[in-house]
Amino acid sequence: MAELNIDKLIEIVGETNVSDDIADLYVYSSDASVHQAMPSVVVRPGRIEEVQDIVKYANQNKIPVIARGAGSGMSGHTVPIDGGIVLDMKRMNRILEIRPEDLLCKVEPGVINDELNRALKPHGFFFAPMPSSGMICTIGGMIGTNASGNRAVKYGATRDVVLGLKVILANGDLVTLGTNTKTDASGYQLARLIVGSEGTLGIVVEATLLLSPLPKFKAMAVANFDKLEDAGNAISKVMASGITPSMVELMDNVAITAVNKALDLGLPDVSAIVIFECDGMVKEAVDYELNAITKICEEHNGAGIKVTDDPGEMARIYEGRKKLFPSLSRFGDGLVSTSLADDMAVPVSKIAVAVHEIHEIAKRNNVVMSAYGHCGSGLIHTKILMDPTKESQWEDAKNAVKETYEFVHSIGGTTSGEHGIALSKAPAMKEERKDSLDMMRAIKKALDPNNILNPHKLMDAPDDWASATGLRYNVRGGQ
């Protein structure tokens, strides 16, 4: 890597949008993951041409470039493992076009998910992928990780609703990928390849997104289960019954305890709570689906089943789920939540067995693990609750992560459902996708021969996540 020429970057974006001050470098050295590594400089481009010029300069000088949105990724996507330029994309936050008649909109990557949905609402449409972090996460970040959120079970993940992209390649070229239509059989689906590539193949500077009409009716059913197995079986039965819920969210007992402590929601102390939501344009159809779900839950020993179509009540229920992940830090016992083994997906029929095993793995390894997630699509989130200042706990966490993914793979599941791989899940993905690694590396090499775009992530990440970078915690010795 050549020495950085800060003046060159200032020339491109202006002085107020470049910083190599220690305060900024330190803050941009971490995200919501456990990792930490210092960038050489942080740059905030505002226009496509600026991104092009920065990438051209970086490519000529073999300087890493890491695009970043809100920095809410949990696996170290934006942690600059080799230093270099962190591109904060939040200034590129314009909604360029809303075309309800074509069911699409065009946006810059720094647009925040909730802001896009606020703008779409008057048109009667919404952008379906809605991560819990929707109030702060950017469309660019969602594209980077192929985020999905709780309505993906019906409406699909980000990849399913990206029609086209404008991307800056590693040599600085601007390319337009994909199209404006829902169907597209014109060659390799390169826009779909960029989605989920975690900034390793190009930098997204514009996205054409498919919109969905806002449903006129919504209703929720919440069921409590004393046995995880019953909850898992109920979810599997619902999904196989021909009903397409717009949300299926499971919370295990660890999650329930944490949410109650943090948000005082008074949820029942049961093994699992499952939230089902159905939506549609016809009230009778929504009611029919929800009735069928209620019956299935009853058949599987679901208790205290509450059905509501009251918007306030539904918002309260949803709020608890939405804020679950950060609430886990209030579980207690001196433990805090770390973003490890945070994301996986298993075949829907295996949810109960996976959640049960996750709890066993946690017990064996002296940590606490919660399991929750958008289980209608087989997606499970966990977090490892531990004392991150103790060195011994990191050994426990390493074992727990390894055992978790080994089990997930053994039942036909995959390493990440929506958060992506980056650093902390890379060893597991490399194990799972052994046959694809050479193909992934060939694609990377073809598009980024100098390895400047978010280098050493995914298939090129170090084999030991714990030593891949520094940890952002003040780790000391002790048991």
């Binding site: 910083s19 001050d21 220690i22 305060a23 900024d24 330190y26 803050v27 941009y28 971490s30 995200d31 919501a32 942080v42 905030r44 809100a70 920095g71 809410s72 904060d88 939040k90 200034r91 972090s133 109030m135 702060i136 943090a262 948000l263 804020k323 679950l324 992940f325 950060p326 609430s327 886990l328 830090s329 209030r330 001196g334 805090v336 939540s337 770390t338 973003s339 991150p388 200042t389 952002r472 915690y473 003040n474």
Partner: protein, 353 residues
Amino acid sequence: MDAKNLKKYEKEMNTCIRCAYCFEECPVIEQKGWDTSGARGKITLSYGLLSGELEPTQSIADNLFQCTLCRNCESKCPSGVEVCDIILSARADLVENGFANDTHKYVIKNIKESGNIYGDTEAIPPVQDGDVPLFIGCQYLSRPNKTKKFIKILEKLGINVKVGEEICCGFPMDVLGFKDDLEKHKEQFKKLFPHKDAITFCPTCTVFLKEGHDVNAKHILQVILDKLPEVNLDMKVTFHDPCDFSRGLKIIDEPRLILEKLGVKVVEMKNNKGNSSCCGGGGGILMSDSELSDDIAMKRIQQAIDTGADIIITSCPTCETTLKKAAAATNERDGTNIVVRNIEDIIWKGLKQ
């Protein structure tokens, strides 16, 4: 750096999972744009100072002092992280290590020398005997006409307040990082104001009397709500909730109910009640970064204009100051006609009707 104040918050800083949910509607990050400006950035910097990975620098200090302490981040944080306490501890450690801001030092000097944030030796309380102790606070002491009006409102509603000598509540020492000075100041304060209960005029003093001095302080709006007669002023206004009111004291309904009793229709701004936006005046930035303070206030004024109301009412002297300045600038720039008034003006007008 010896981070003695931050030490006790290590666990709390680890509790922050850095999800960035605190970015939502943070007035400083909205203006500055850098992640460093948000609550997560400030906690990250504080953690670095505590762990020793960071040595203090002027830019780190500047970032940690660029916060209005509006508590919006705390209300958004699902982990319930005590963001403001962490920032205040970091500020205290920075001040102890030589990073006090010059304008802040000047304010602290004023308090130490005159008992008043402005060094206003003519800011003398209108001493009188009465039933309930009244704490006026520096800002209203320097606005004697407003103070008189407040006292008259109370008297008219049958509440006779006891006014004695007083000095600054000490809140600026707490927020600007002068913890050692605050401990000494508290002793002096206690001697002059030994009461367990008090009526107050300023939301910030109210919070600090409760949290810093263990005084059962009640803001005047809480005390007069039930006693106010119903009148019809036939006005349409919007109400700006001061942060220390809506998020600090959780006083949200009282001002609206008072305005309703006075026949004043309140149209809400986009951000209102517990989700109110800051006026830009808190946390010391009014003194140390007036440009940032002005930008935040201008945004708030625009929200008020968007309601269609011509009058924005507030109940805090700092909010009144910042919003008046922003309203004047906006009116001049855009030809609008928004007026900022303190709620005591409206109450007095109602009582005279």
